[in-house]
Subunit: 181 residues, 2 copies
């Protein structure tokens, strides 16, 4: 079977205006204490691709416009809705009060391994991603509805945070796509 | 339920020697024409976490030791087996002859959407990831046993290649973990 590469025009992507108007998946991303603009920009790009609802950036994080973010977001800061909130705890409480379930992505006691995390009625849902070195703050984990852990079998302590976000977002979107069929 | 963060020592990760001796998943990564050391290093880190068999780097790509690769691999170039081959076509033919099924990760006609890619007896399996701008070379796609495409719904043309690799690797490893249970 022939697999000719799709040209850019054949991809028939949305423009910014139509993206803004399109339905999004009820998935929110909270980026707390993320210092690397490269990582944040990459997460914007991933959130654009999977039509996520909104990115919340909190605490001492890089925020757009930032040279590194713009370089890796490739324009996705103009499409994906985002807000900055200085106080992550207040934000988490606010969105929980709005009925959004919040899950920390972290290696922690009693966490749910990602392969065991099957969406039932957790949407709308937010995931918290934390600092590149220190991970998600314990006080945010304590406020969350659950903690999801990506199983890891090698020598390193963790995955890159933009890779982590891609894996978790795909794990969720994959289930939603399969449910649509 | 308490979700106390796991300390580094509690993670109880393998050391290099034990990693080398441990069983790996029969998954190979081919990185062809990848220019960014940051991306390659990040893919090494992901391949360490998921115990992949080997990374092949081909063509005009950055190779270890390279400052950017070492920065993002965080030591995973010392754990994950890797080889450099100048000629990607020869490599793909060689590993196909060894019984390894080869899949290009690309947006292409007649591709299999990732959510539809269920492992049956495709292992050992190799995935080809291509250049950051141009993607996988058409001549490699033509040699592959199949083409897998990550569905994308936004305005951007593609995902970052290290995020792409994380998503595809997780999609495979998730199925293997679920089959183990």
């Amino acid at each position: 079977m022939s697999h000719l590469k799709t040209t850019t025009s054949q991809l028939n992507r949305l423009n910014i205006e139509n993206f803004k108007l399109s339905d999004k998946y009820d998935i929110y991303i909270i980026l707390d204490q993320l210092r690397s603009g490269n990582n944040i920009g990459s997460i914007f790009r991933t959130s654009d691709a999977f039509k996520l609802k909104k990115i919340f950036i909190t605490g001492q994080s890089a925020i757009p416009p930032n040279k590194e973010i713009l370089k890796t977001a490739l324009g996705a800061t103009e499409t994906v809705d985002w807000e900055y909130h200085e106080n992550a705890k207040n934000l988490v409480q606010t969105i929980k009060d709005q009925g959004i379930k919040v899950f920390a992505i972290e290696q922690a006691k009693n966490s749910t391994l990602l392969q065991d995390f099957k969406l039932a009625n957790e949407l709308p849902l937010a995931i918290i991603l934390g600092n590149e070195v220190d991970g998600v703050q314990q006080e945010l984990i304590d406020m969350a509805d659950g903690c999801i852990e990506i199983p890891q079998f090698g020598t390193k302590h963790s995955l890159n945070v933009s890779v982590t976000s891609g894996i978790v977002i795909w794990h969720l979107v994959n289930q939603l796509l399969c449910a649509e069929n």
